[in-house]
């Protein structure tokens, strides 16, 4: 087993967490945080280049390599953003150096948890890893210690724990179904083994297991009606955490659902998981798009937008087929990049304006042209307009959905349109009109924002053939 190839993306964050726990001074530690995230990214790149052979603990295939690459990349850019964001928080006294140490440690632990969940071949280990990632984000969400932040963290915590419990029960059931076929022990938890024998499993247990897994990991992915923790956790935590939550943690939960979906799809007697995912996805998208209207808090609004996108992605994967799966995958990548870019701008904006209340943010394109246009560009991307990447994935999702199941595509269209109207309505108010309030200089770091949007832009126009083949292969795996 080539432990070293995989270990980079696991050990670096873990070691970094240990070092960060010891490092004094927020400047050093934020720089070290960037360095560690960069090394993890390098490790992931190495992983793309040299894929380790299949092991019973680790599995790196076409599918999770997408997630890993995305995860480490956004993790890195977020750490860059985080450095400038944190500096401002220290200066305004919202965070103390002590809390920051805590923050950086958990940042790396969270990265470790997510990477572990992605690379592992073991559904038990995956469960543990997701739990770890969740717990560390809970702590980061509550870091401001305001009543709102504590309320949000507590809600996240309780709902998340219930979700974790469900996922564990589902995992146990999978094992119970597998055990008569593959025998007791580690085999019953190894995903590749499970997949190979899935068709022989007892479908009745698998059905129950699917319900629990979908509800368990669905809570993490923010699917309706299990999403309640998500908006508040995004709104009340530090913005880098919001970016990571939206951009990465939701993906990890989705990844877990997808892995199980493949498992279930391989058994012909199990209730096909697709339709349930489609229904849940649609309900999520429609619900979240309407929830976008009465928002007052900018971060909470974009959190609902993330829920909406998770709904669309779940729908696309539920629909299945080469086109829809490709679209879902593309949408997921694009959403991660775009949404984290938006949160980067939003973080700087709320720092510059000193508020997250949208009614107090006016005329950004005039007062802070780069931030304002960055926000507009991000919003244009997230609502699915060309020339940015989300347009392509939504094009594929809707067209293949409408051609195959017209009645399911209509709610999707309603959701997209409603979300479009809502986000544009709020953005119009913030980006345009006469500028309001004093214009304070902002020392924002625009590089992460524009790197993300640049990639999204490039993907909207041209996707390299290698990536296409890669994604198509994943789409095929997903069935």
């Amino acid at each position: 087993m080539t432990f070293d190839a995989v270990s980079l993306v696991l050990i670096i964050p873990l070691a970094a967490a240990a070092v960060l726990a010891a490092l004094p001074g927020y400047k050093t530690s934020s720089r070290f945080n960037i360095l560690a995230s960069f090394l993890t990214l390098a490790g992931a790149v190495d992983l793309v280049a040299h894929r380790p052979p299949l092991g019973s603990y680790f599995l790196v295939d076409d599918m999770n390599i997408v997630f890993i690459a995305l995860n480490t990349f956004v993790g890195f850019t977020t750490s860059v953003f985080s450095a400038s964001y944190i500096a401002h928080e220290i200066r305004t006294g919202r965070l103390t150096p002590g809390l920051l140490r805590f923050y950086h440690v958990f940042y790396q632990i969270m990265m470790f948890g997510m990477n572990l969940a992605l690379v592992t071949n073991n559904i038990g280990l995956m469960w543990v890893a997701v739990e770890l990632a969740t717990l560390s984000t809970v702590l980061m969400v509550g870091i401001y210690r305001t009543p709102e932040a504590i309320e949000a963290a507590w809600k996240y915590f309780i709902l998340g724990s219930v979700g974790i419990a469900f996922a564990l029960f589902g995992t146990t059931l999978i094992y119970a179904a597998a055990q008569p076929v593959v025998g007791a022990g580690m085999n019953g938890m190894t995903w590749t083994t499970l997949l190979a024998h899935s068709s022989a499993f007892d479908p009745a247990i698998m059905n129950i297991a699917f319900i629990f897994l979908l509800m368990g990991y669905g809570t993490k992915a923010g699917l309706f009606p299990l999403h309640a923790w998500l908006p508040d956790a995004h709104a009340e935590g530090p913005t880098p955490v919001s970016a990571v939550l939206s951009g990465l943690l939701l993906n990890v939960a989705l990844y877990a659902i997808l892995r199980f979906k493949i498992l279930f799809a391989a058994n012909a007697h199990v209730i096909p998981p697709g339709p349930l995912m489609m229904v849940v996805g649609l309900a999520t998208a429609v619900f979240a798009s309407f929830m976008l209207y009465p928002r007052h808090d900018i971060k909470r609004m974009f959190a609902y937008s993330s829920i909406e996108h998770m709904g669309i992605i779940t729908f696309a994967f539920g629909l299945g087929g080469a086109i829809a799966n490709f679209a879902g995958l593309l949408q997921m990548v694009m959403h991660s990049l775009t949404k984290s870019a938006i949160f980067f701008s939003v973080g700087h904006i709320s720092q510059a304006k000193g508020t997250q209340r949208m009614a107090d943010i006016r005329g950004l394109t005039e007062s802070y042209p780069l931030l304002g246009w960055g926000l507009v560009l991000g919003v244009v991307a997230i609502v699915g307009m060309p020339p940015l990447g989300v347009f392509m994935s939504e094009f594929l999702t809707i067209s293949s959905a409408f051609a195959r199941a017209p009645w399911l595509a209509l709610p999707l269209v309603v959701a997209l349109l409603a979300a479009f109207g809502a986000i544009m309505r709020h953005t119009h108010g913030m980006a345009f009109g006469a500028a309001q309030g004093e214009i304070r200089p902002s020392e924002a770091s625009f590089i992460p924002v524009f790197i993300h949007l640049g990639i999204v832009f490039a993907a909207g126009v041209f996707i390299p053939a290698a990536v296409v083949v890669w994604f198509q292969h994943v789409a095929k795996m997903l069935g």
């Binding site: 038990g124 280990l125 469960w127 543990v128 739990e131 770890l132 717990l135 809970v138 509550g142 009543p147 709102e148 504590i150 309320e151 949000a152 963290a153 507590w154 915590f157 309780i158 724990s161 219930v162 974790i164 419990a165 564990l168 029960f169 146990t172 059931l173 094992y175 119970a176 179904a177 055990q179 008569p180 025998g183 007791a184 022990g185 580690m186 019953g188 938890m189 007892d202 009745a204 247990i205 059905n207 129950i208 908006p231 508040d232 709104a235 009340e236 009465p294 928002r295 007052h296 808090d297 909470r300 209340r357 009614a359 309505r425 119009h428 108010g429």
Partner: protein, 238 residues
């Protein structure tokens, strides 16, 4: 597997469920915690018995953790919290014994109907354990739903989690049971510490909406700047 072996396992699992059901209608917090401690002891016994049956040494560790941590440390900590938060005199409005029993039985019935039908091919022991585990899980969740007090909700979650450990231990040869139980213990510790650390006072959840909303960011904004009363007034396009 002998009949006696099975019967003992069955009895322990049944007792676990019974404890869950009893918790549903406990009005006093201390009583609630005591029953929880009792449930934890039963869980420890149950897991230990599984260890005997499956010849799985690591399950003893799980049993030990369950006993030490869940039956001793956590109840003690919860006692302390209750005293510190001065809510030990409080009497909760919970559903009465009769309805609680009815609801509990309905949930148990559902759990049985779901699990027993599905697990026809699994070995008998695991089958019973899974069914009881689901029942305990549902009962725990129901308790979380019916209680308004943070501490009793936590207790609900803890009993829910006991069900999970039962299921994990009851399934033949499942790996990571120890790890999972440790992970859960950490989680529970966090929960308990969370209550303490975050100073979630007696009720973060009351019937009084205003008290509730004090901690809700969005609502506060909405109150200060009333939202459009779209349903009454009509259009609000910008």
């Amino acid at each position: 597997m002998g009949t006696l072996d099975f019967n003992i396992a069955h009895m322990l699992a049944g007792a676990l469920m019974l404890a869950s059901m009893t918790m549903l209608y406990q009005k006093r917090l201390f009583a609630l915690i005591n029953i929880y401690a009792l449930q934890a002891v039963i869980l420890a016994l149950s897991v230990a018995w599984q260890a005997v049956l499956q010849h799985a040494a690591q399950l003893y560790i799980t049993a030990l953790i369950a006993f030490l941590f869940k039956a001793l440390v956590i109840p003690y900590a919860l006692h302390r919290i209750i005293v510190r938060l001065r809510i030990h005199r409080e009497i909760e409005t919970v559903i009465g014994t009769g309805p609680a029993m009815l609801a509990g039985m309905a949930l148990t019935g559902l759990a049985m109907a779901v699990m027993l039908r599905a697990t026809a091919n699994v070995d008998l022991l695991a089958r019973e354990d899974l069914a009881f585990a689901l029942a305990v899980l549902l009962l725990g969740l129901m308790m979380m739903v019916t209680r308004r007090n943070a501490v009793s909700q936590i207790v609900g979650f803890l009993s829910l989690e006991n069900g999970l450990i039962l299921a994990a231990a009851g399934t033949q040869g499942m790996p990571f049971v120890v790890e999972i139980s440790i992970a859960f213990s950490i989680l529970v510790a966090f929960v308990v510490i969370g209550v303490f650390l975050f100073r979630i006072r007696e009720r973060f959840d009351t019937v009084d909406l205003r008290a509730l909303d004090a901690f809700r960011g969005e609502r506060r904004l909405a109150e200060a700047f009333p939202a459009t009363t779209a349903c009454n007034e009509g259009d609000e396009m910008p």
